[in-house]
């Protein structure tokens, strides 16, 4: 076991976890941040996507201890004062989900993408999103949501998050 501090969504958490324990397991089981999902545990589905210092990362194959010192953002950290960020709003607006189990990961991956490329090309979107699986098959709507978010002006929640 190892003890370290994680900075998640702006708060510091003292964590006691296995030295090889994944960030996903720590977020879900130890910090009860269950918005980040398990889908495969091998970096293949994107359900566990979070942001590390603004960059998308797959929490299931990221060591929790290795993320100490980085700014971790999960789906729970996007909303500010009850206001959704523009990516969340765009997903809602397009109804870009069915069961929505993939949605957290999709929104985090899209947020990371738009952070790096505010006006991404189609190829940049596919490149950034192809690692995220939606078994319900809502890909066309997710693409529409990303295009919508790219056009929308950032909200207060976005400013606070950035």
């Amino acid at each position: 076991m190892a003890e370290f501090t994680l900075k998640v969504n702006g708060s510091e958490h003292r964590v006691n976890a296995g030295s090889e324990e994944s960030l996903l397991s720590v977020l879900r089981d130890r910090l009860q941040l269950t918005g980040t999902k398990y889908g495969c545990g091998e970096g293949q589905c994107g359900a566990c996507t979070v942001l590390l210092d603004g960059q998308p990362a797959l929490a299931c194959i990221t060591l929790a201890s290795g993320a100490a010192g980085q700014k971790i953002t999960t789906i729970e950290g996007l909303e500010r004062n009850g206001e959704l960020c523009h990516v969340q709003q765009a997903f809602l607006h397009e109804g870009a989900f069915q069961c929505a189990y993939c949605t957290s990961g999709m929104i985090m991956a899209a947020t990371g993408l738009l952070h790096a490329h505010p006006h991404p090309s189609e190829e940049q979107i596919l490149q950034a999103m192809n690692g995220n699986i939606c078994r319900c098959g809502t890909y066309p709507r997710i693409l529409a949501a990303i295009h919508r978010a790219a056009q929308a002006a950032p909200t207060e929640a976005d400013d606070a998050r950035a």
Binding site: A17, G18, E21, S22, S25, R28, D29, R30, Q32, L33, T34, G35, T36, K37, Y38, G39, C40, G41, E42, Q44, C45, A47, T74, I75, E76, L78, E79, L84, Q88, F91, L92, G95, F97, Q98, C99, A100, Y101, C102, T103, S104, I107, I125, L126, M129, N130, N132, I133, C134, R135, C136, G137, T138, Y139, P140, R141, I142, L143
Partner: protein, 710 residues
């Protein structure tokens, strides 16, 4: 709708959704009753009605309550709570059912809260499958809402001492226009239950007059899903909860030879649970549970079993000697100007819902509560009750809206295992299957071999059609085309190599793939355009309508296929849904197939929520790409060879074509379910497009597994 009607066709339908149990019941105090089903605890409903039998007399054994209060409650503030055993798995019925209730009750959509799949609170229900929610639960709830509305109107009439016929119910109020009097529903019920019983029919609002139903209301509680706030079954946390893990055998049908649990037992906080061949652990956190399970050394004996390369030969051998086609058929075939004989195969595939099986179990004395992801909360409740020798009313199953199922979550393995661990631990336990467990120990869409013998005249008139399906199922086997001599024959195989069960649309996918590929071959054989050939042999107006709608939107016939670009179409119907798809594929020099564009037309009666329906139809097309082109379970010696997303390919963003959905709204026809049949036309349309481009007929699903890549 009377209970009797709810049964129509239900027994046959339900039988196909049943998952064979592979294990005897186990009793905690009788170890010898515990058997291993390849890997976890599974409870055999031996001696008890299986789902199929249960549903045959099912609604008799579980009569639908006729009390309004069993289905809906209006509190003193006018908030409406609706109770149903149907569950939300992404098909959007939490929204569409609430729309239907709001419509009949004449209240705003957002006054309604749906309580779904909580076995203590909702009327018994067989489960959410077979596209039954919209055609059966929809009318049931509408009827109850209409009855509640008329009861409220009567209450107001009594208070005001006027004729109820002069009053108007709208927007959660009853109004007397003559006297400008108004009473809200909340004021009328004062939070008391509506105790009236309803039997027989009630006039329901026709679709042409719908104001809330029929509109694109967004997903209920959508905000909870984009904020991560919604709690899926795998997200449930209980006070003092521990985490479980099951030790799996090295193959199917294995027996335990020896086990050493000493290393795991020494780990702090770890408890090992043994019950016959069942081995599990509980630990304070999931990470430790995983380590502890890995530290257990178990040896298993796995009997010899066939591999996927021997599968189709094996199925055919085992189905030999079925009933021969009748003399009329043979005569019709003998007299045909052209005959065609072809065989099609369909592989085992997995549902792979993104959320694997998960459960949290909590014991309170002899009461058991389990939160779990399932399409059959009452089925799982019964499995638990039998496994632990409890009366059904001491078991409560709750089903939080889950990370979907596609027909793959009918069974309660995870719930039973979890409850067994919690019983031993004396604390609540969470058990979440890994992706590999889900790929291995859940069940599969059945593989099958389909053969078709057909006869046609030179002028393109179909005269004989004999279709046989081995193992995959009877759904959709009857041809919708006009043909005088026709036969559909399903041959079941005893004890198939993999545990198999329901999958979205059941065998309609397999049977449509075979039929629509075959129709395409016949069209080419008689030198007719595939659309023209289909229409020539089709009088079903609804199927013609979707076929023509898809063709028109697609621009069918505007462009001829070339070796690099092919156009194909397919259509079909089952369970009251009518579908037609046109596909455009691109094939490069390396024989890599890309589906570029798909137009799909859909009709299932009056549309309850056009946005939800569009979403379902589009999702079905995307999901169908997987089974059509590349999804396939490989197995050998009792093991799944590709039990991970890195080895089992599912459709991704890059696989997704440009999709256009054309919805036909038939307000004059009762709404049918739309979650399943949208999946059946894509694969044959793509196969037919590949044929149009290359002249290669692909008769095996997945199609991009041999000569072509995707």
């Amino acid at each position: 709708m009377p209970a009797r009607e709810l049964q129509d066709g239900f027994a046959t339908e339900a039988a196909q959704h049943d998952v064979p149990r592979q294990l005897r019941a186990f009793a905690l105090d009788r170890r010898d009753f515990l058997r291993l089903c390849g890997g976890g605890l599974l409870v055999c409903l031996a001696g008890e009605p299986s789902l199929a039998q249960e549903s045959g007399g099912g609604w008799g054994r579980h009569p639908l309550p006729e009390q309004i209060s069993a289905w809906l409650f209006i509190d003193a503030h006018g908030k409406v709570t609706v109770y149903t055993g149907k569950v939300e798995v992404g098909q959007n019925i939490r929204t569409s059912l609430a729309q239907s209730v709001a419509e009949e009750l004449r209240v705003a959509f957002d006054t309604i809260t749906m309580v779904m799949g909580d076995t203590d609170l909702v009327p018994w229900d067989a489960g959410t499958f077979g596209s039954r929610t919209t055609p059966t639960m929809g009318p049931q709830l509408r009827k109850m809402a209409a009855a509640a509305r008329s009861l409220l109107v009567e209450k107001a009439a009594q208070q005001w001492k006027v004729d109820p016929a002069t009053l108007v119910a709208a927007n959660g109020n009853v109004t007397n226009p003559a006297a400008a009097q108004t009473l809200s529903y909340g004021a009328l019920t004062q939070g008391e239950k509506l105790t009236a019983t309803v039997d027989g029919e009630l006039p329901l609002t026709p679709a042409t007059e719908w104001k809330i139903a029929g509109t694109p209301v967004p997903k209920a509680d959508g905000r909870d899903f984009v904020t991560g706030r919604h709690k899926y079954p795998s997200d449930i946390v209980r006070p003092g909860m521990l985490y479980g893990k099951v030790v799996r055998p090295s193959g199917f049908r294995a027996t335990l030879v020896s086990v050493d649990t000493s290393a795991a037992e020494k780990m702090p906080g770890v408890q090992v649970v043994r019950d016959g061949d069942f081995i599990g652990v509980v630990a304070p956190d999931g990470w430790t549970a995983e380590k502890a399970a890995a530290a257990i050394e178990a040896k298993w004996a796995v009997p010899a079993q066939i591999s996927n390369t021997e599968l189709f030969a094996d199925l055919k051998k085992r189905a030999e000697g079925g009933a021969a086609a009748g003399g009329d058929m043979e005569q019709a075939l003998a007299g045909a100007e052209m005959k065609m004989d072809a065989e099609y195969t369909i592989a085992y595939i997995q549902h792979a819902p993104l959320e694997p099986r998960a459960a949290v179990a909590e014991w309170d004395g002899t009461h058991l509560t389990v939160w779990t992801g399932t399409q059959r909360p009452f089925g799982v409740r019964d499995e638990l009750a039998q496994a632990f020798r409890l009366p059904g009313n001491q078991v409560r199953v709750l089903m939080p809206d889950m990370g979907s199922g596609y027909g793959g979550k009918h069974s309660g393995e995870c719930a039973v295992e979890c409850a067994r661990l919690a019983k031993a631990a004396g604390k609540p336990v969470k058990l979440v299957w890994t992706r590999e467990e889900e790929f291995t120990w859940a069940y599969f869409r059945p593989a099958g071999v389909i053969s078709i013998r057909s006869g046609v005249r030179h002028d393109g008139t179909l005269i004989a059609w004999a279709q046989t399906n081995i193992n995959s199922g009877p759904s959709g086997i009857d041809t919708p085309y006009n043909v005088t001599a026709k036969a559909g024959d399903f041959r079941e195989v005893e004890d198939p190599p993999l545990r198999q069960g329901s999958y979205r649309a059941l065998a309609a996918t397999a049977n449509h793939f075979a039929r629509e590929s075959h129709m395409d071959d016949l069209a080419h054989a008689v030198n007719m355009d595939p659309l023209e050939f289909r229409l020539k042999n089709l009088t079903d107006a609804r199927l013609r309508a979707v076929l023509q709608a898809a063709a028109q939107r697609f621009g069918w016939g505007r462009q001829a296929s070339s070796p690099q670009r092919g156009f194909g179409m397919a259509c079909g119907t089952d369970k009251g849904g009518y579908v037609a798809a046109c596909a455009e594929v691109e094939i490069d020099a390396a024989r890599k197939v890309r589906v570029r564009r798909v137009v799909q037309a859909w009709e299932s009666g009056a549309i309850v929520n056009p946005d939800g329906l569009r979403n379902q139809t589009m999702g079905a097309i995307v999901q169908a790409m997987g089974g059509g082109l590349f999804e396939e379970i490989r197995f050998a010696s009792g093991k799944i060879l590709n039990p991970l997303f890195s080895e089992y390919r599912v459709p991704r963003f890059r696989d997704t074509p440009e999709i256009e959905v054309v919805l036909l709204d038939r307000k004059d026809i009762p709404s049918a379910g739309a979650g399943e049949i949208g999946i059946v036309a894509l694969a044959p349309a793509v196969g037919n497009a590949i044929f149009a481009a290359t002249g290669e007929r692909l008769r095996a699903m997945p199609m991009a597994a041999g000569k072509f890549r995707a």
